[in-house]
């Protein structure tokens, strides 16, 4: 019986649900010192002086280091890394773990206290007196573009880079010249605070005799972190072991190399004592990178029937104060998707990256792709109303391959989509939503003068998963490859150990990998142990982000299993005195074609490979194989989401009443895990549409850094989601899988805002800024009605 495709319960859950899972903060070591950070309350200021004397005298304090002290201690051989210099001339001001004379965002570290416990560290940090000289603040992209004052005093412009992707400028020009309909829309992707359930944390433990250091970090990327720690500290890579224990979510915010990590490692190394830090929630709003932060302008050119002729996009992207690991690349990850699921003859994209005196931005669930999907899907609705047809019809008229099934299709944004079949996902989503009835009810309410308007919104998204073909990354200037490594090892007792370079932080890799291995080797999934997230156990890997784990890491495991079976087959043939060509393998049993009574279990062969008493001449003992999978192409999952909202005209409140998602992530390994990913993803995208958004005042202070004011929706605010799936196997990998970690987020913000705008159309409202708070909606209604009530 096949395990792949069944909703097996997650192996990792009992441990996590009963509190047995060990997160970084749960790990205690003797002699540890806690770091307490002194952070800048100013978004931009010169540091005149730092007086740490009172803090140094405080009880339980081991040492206080000012930024000047730390920078003089020779702890770092280079600044924090940016692995994605998107253009050769990209501006990248040096970024050290502590501010060097000038602070550039609220929360930048200006001194560090080391104390016996975190409470004393926090108390002492309050005693450090810093004299700041405030400087002009660039508190928004608009400020940055105005270029009146500089984010860093050393800059000549706040612009970090200009990145164009205009495959055929003449064709683009012509498309707009020939258009009957022209959409010109601007959208704001607000800044998002990632809000993983577990905050970030770090613990660096030097070995007592010096030399080696173990870094526990709540990270998505232990392998990348290890390389980067070596590169920035000069500690030999071979002396660094990074362990990501249980990690409680990341959403991109744990895909970085952070000041606290580099402080902990280098101070622990220097002092010979363990050094640790766990972020507080309020600190997280300043010390962990944020997501989104883009001003988008999208233009569509279409003929009289609404068929697209061209799409032109410009982004002004908010980098924040510094380039973090992949800050500059995030908007570009979306660049290829601004044509969405549509046949668009001509395309042009430009992006300007801007520094601001705000917390740096970087990857956040979907990273570039939700933004793209939002812009094109919002613009398509606007086009539909210009053409005078429904939002479903405008999509059907423009789907790639006419909405029919396709494989390996070149799209104008220069990519080749692996496979797609968009028509059925729209059909199914509308059917599940009861679209016709909804429209009738909407009309009835409008006709009846109801103050509760119904809004129906849809979005057909496509995303880029399976990051990534290493060559493609090279072409984009990214500083690493996109492969993944796997080792599959059969133990003497017939159990299986899988070593994966992919590092879960809630996704259920242990379960999915067990299912793949169970089918490939014909063993019980319970007999498969998955090892990961420790660079000493799994030395090769490129970690988890960009919905890459299954399409890259999972495929590597499947391939390694194939190699194990190949070797086992040779041993089986040798044992059964048959030709390897005649061997058959099914359900974990090797047999000789034509004589099924003679059979050997793979476990038996594993034991034989271990004893090595009777192996074919020249064969190495043990049954263990490794592979590295570098995908030939990305994978392009897609789907159609439909949101139904009810808008209270009197209060402006938007209630999400129903949500239908029909997703296609290719072949599914564990449908329950897929559904879980879609659920969480939808909630997160709905969060951006209706609730969340980091807000800044003109001085660059975040005005909603706590969960009291930064509204992350809870299950109570979500309707029951109706999920369904279509299955269009990917051509990019032998498993036919695509990836689903970000899909929900990529489809949902656009679907919800399309629904809100649809509901508000009787008031003449055509757009609403995210998050669509009751106040904003109410005001839009008042403006539409022409005056406040």
């Amino acid at each position: 019986m096949s395990s792949v495709g069944t909703p097996m319960l997650r192996k990792e859950d009992p441990k996590l649900l009963t509190g047995e899972g060990k997160y970084v903060d749960d790990i205690q070591v003797a002699g540890q010192l806690w770091m307490g950070m002194v952070r800048s309350p100013y978004a931009h200021a010169t540091i005149n002086s730092v007086d740490a004397s009172a803090a140094a005298e405080a009880p339980g304090v081991h040492a206080v280091y000012t930024a000047t002290d730390l920078l003089g201690m020779g702890l770092w051989i280079g600044p924090l890394p940016c692995a994605w210099p998107v253009t050769p001339d990209m501006v990248n001001p040096p970024h050290f773990p502590v501010a060097d004379g000038e602070v550039h965002h609220v929360g930048e570290i200006v001194a560090v206290v080391l104390a016996d416990d975190r409470y004393r560290a926090a108390d002492a940090a309050e005693l450090v007196v810093v004299d700041y000289e405030p400087l002009p603040v660039v508190a928004s992209v608009a400020d940055a573009v105005a270029d009146a004052s500089m984010v860093h005093s050393s800059l000549e412009s706040n612009k970090a880079y200009h990145w164009p992707l205009i495959p055929d400028p003449d064709a683009l020009e012509a498309a707009f010249a020939n258009a009957t309909h022209h959409v010109d829309a601007s959208f704001v992707q607000q800044r998002m605070i990632p809000s993983a359930m577990e905050p970030r944390g770090v613990l660096a433990v030097p070995s007592p005799h010096g030399g080696d250091i173990t870094l526990y970090s709540a990270t998505q990327v232990p392998h990348i972190l290890k390389v980067m720690v070596a590169a920035t500290t000069g500690i030999p890579e071979s002396k660094i072991r990074v362990i990501a224990p249980a990690v409680g979510g990341g959403f991109g915010a744990k895909l970085n190399v952070n000041p606290d990590e580099l402080l902990a490692v280098t101070l622990a190394n220097k002092l010979g004592r363990p050094v640790r830090w766990t972020e507080t929630r309020s600190e997280a709003a300043f010390s962990t990178h944020q997501g989104r932060g883009q001003n988008q302008r999208i233009e569509l050119a279409a003929d009289g029937d609404g068929k697209l002729l061209g799409v032109r996009v410009h982004l002004d992207a908010d980098m924040g104060a510094y380039m973090m690991l992949i800050t500059p690349g995030v908007p570009l990850l979306g660049s290829f998707l601004y044509t969405g699921v549509y046949a668009v003859p001509a395309f042009g994209f430009t992006c300007d990256g801007w520094f601001t005196n705000l917390t740096p931005t970087d990857a956040y669930r979907g990273a570039g792709r939700p933004e793209a999907s939002y812009a094109i899907e919002r613009a398509m609705d606007i086009l539909a109303s210009k053409v005078g047809i429904g939002p479903d019809e405008i999509r059907r008229r423009n789907y790639l391959a006419g909405g029919e099934h396709f494989e390996n299709l070149d799209v104008p944004s220069t990519l080749t989509f692996d496979s797609g079949h968009y028509g059925p996902s729209l059909d199914r989503a509308l059917e599940l939503a009861g679209y016709g009835d909804l429209r009738a009810e909407q009309q009835a309410r409008r006709d009846g003068g109801s103050t509760k308007q119904l809004g129906i919104g849809m979005c057909t998204y496509v995303e880029i998963c399976g990051l990534a073909p290493s060559r493609a990354l090279g072409g984009l200037g990214y500083g690493a490859g996109g492969w993944e490594h796997a080792t599959v090892r059969m133990l003497p007792t017939g159990k299986v150990e899988v070593v994966s370079g992919s590092t879960p932080h809630g996704q259920g890799h242990e379960t999915s990998w067990s299912q793949i291995v169970a089918d490939k080797l014909g063993v019980d999934p319970a007999d498969v142990e998955v090892l990961h997230s420790d660079t000493a156990i799994s030395p090769l890997g490129l970690d988890t982000y960009g919905s890459r784990s299954l399409a890259v890491g999972g495929v590597a495991i499947a391939n390694a299993c194939d190699k194990v079976v190949e070797k086992a087959k040779l041993i089986a043939a040798h044992s059964m005195e048959a030709s390897a060509d005649d061997m058959e393998f099914d359900g974990g049993m090797f047999s000789v074609a034509g004589s099924p009574d003679k059979a050997m279990a793979i476990q038996e062969i594993a034991f034989g490979a271990f004893t090595a008493h009777d192996l074919p001449d020249g064969m190495e003992p043990n049954l263990q194989e490794q592979t590295t999978w570098d995908p030939p192409n990305f994978a392009f999952p897609f789907g159609t989401h439909v949101a139904v909202v009810e808008i209270d005209e009197d209060t402006g409140n938007v209630e999400l009443q129903n949500y239908i998602a029909v997703d296609d992530c290719g072949v599914q390994v564990n449908p329950m895990i897929v559904a879980g990913q879609v659920h969480g993803g939808i909630a997160q995208g709905v969060g951006q549409a209706l609730w969340e958004g980091a807000n800044y005042d003109e001085d660059g202070n975040c005005t909603n850094p706590s969960f009291m004011d930064y509204l992350v929706p809870s299950p109570t605010e979500m309707p029951n989601f109706t999920l369904d799936f279509t299955v269009t196997p990917s051509t990019s990998n032998p498993l036919g899988v695509k990836g689903v970690g970000e899909a929900g987020t990529i489809g949902s913000a656009a679907a919800v805002i399309n629904a809100v705008c649809d509901g508000l159309s009787p008031y003449g409202v055509t757009d609403i800024e995210m998050p669509a708070t009751p106040q904003r909606v109410w005001r839009a209604i008042q403006d539409g009605k022409g005056g406040a009530s």
């Binding site: 108390d123 209060t651 409140n653 005005t703 009751p774 106040q775």
Partner: protein
């Protein structure tokens, strides 16, 4: 997120708590359910030197029939209010409002006395006390005194309680079947109100507003309009008169004023039916 250091004293009785307050003066703070005080301490917006824990004074947790009123011990948890049969019969508005506070965890910890003594204009229960014309009993070194709801809330997080006084009891006149409504407008189930309106009709109609000024407040104009027989719509039209609503991400003054009118109208209509 990490409070400054403090001394902790567990009070064995109401009198012991008062003694501790007297001893430590403005250094001391009473700790009941901790669900308002501890968040403030974690933000270091409150840094009391001594915490006097009254959370275990079970003799101050009760809901009794006081004849013309219901007497409620200050340490009574929101959860006890929302499940009380006596309140269902005699003070249904209070019972319902309690059920609208935060989430179950909050309601199992938070106390009625703490919620009132905190004096937060965004809290739900003060509005119920005002609309129902209740009063509170304060006990200090010199004995007990009764303070009406109208005199109790004096400013932003300020009440008529003295530094050495303990709130021991809350008295709610029996509602006598009067119509009532509580309209809480918030964005997530567990959130404070952006604006709220508590309404109780009957002989002495009361309408109180949540988050429309520095302190919990009555909508006096609305009360007067109802008393003079105005329609719900007309009475609600003056709901925002004399208010000074806060301005935050959830709403500016104009929006909150509008919400107050909408919610009061909805409340009046619901209370009438």
């Amino acid at each position: 997120m990490i409070p400054a250091s403090f001394e902790y004293v567990e009070a064995a009785s109401a009198d012991a708590a008062i003694a501790a307050l007297t001893e430590h003066g403005d250094e001391a703070k009473l700790l009941a359910g901790g669900h308002s005080l501890i968040p403030l301490m974690r933000f270091r917006l409150a840094t009391p030197g001594v915490l006097v824990d009254i959370g275990r004074l079970d003799d101050l947790s009760y809901i009794n029939d006081g004849g013309d009123h219901i007497a409620i011990g200050a340490l009574t948890r929101h959860r006890a209010l929302e499940t009380s049969d006596m309140l269902a019969a005699e003070a249904p508005l209070l019972r319902h409002v309690a059920s609208q506070v935060g989430d179950p965890q909050v309601r199992h910890r938070g106390t009625l006395g703490g919620s009132l003594a905190h004096g937060d204009p965004a809290s739900d229960l003060p509005a119920a006390l005002l609309a129902m014309g209740g009063s509170v009993v304060a006990k200090g070194p010199g004995g007990e005194r009764v303070i009406t709801a109208d005199d109790f809330f004096t400013g932003f997080l300020e009440t008529a309680l003295g530094e050495d006084e303990l709130l021991t009891e809350i008295r709610i006149p029996k509602a006598g079947g009067a119509g009532w409504s509580y309209q809480k407008f918030n964005r997530r189930a567990q959130d404070w109100a952006i604006v709220g309106a508590a309404v109780q009709l009957g002989a002495n109609p009361g309408v109180a507003l949540v988050n429309m000024g520095p302190a919990p407040m009555r909508a006096g104009g609305v009360e007067a309009a109802i008393a003079s027989g105005s329609s719900a719509a007309d009475a609600a039209a003056v709901a925002a008169a004399g208010t000074e609503p806060p301005v935050d991400l959830n709403g500016d003054e104009a929006y909150r004023a509008h919400l107050a009118r909408v919610l009061v109208e909805r409340g009046l209509i619901e209370a009438q039916t």
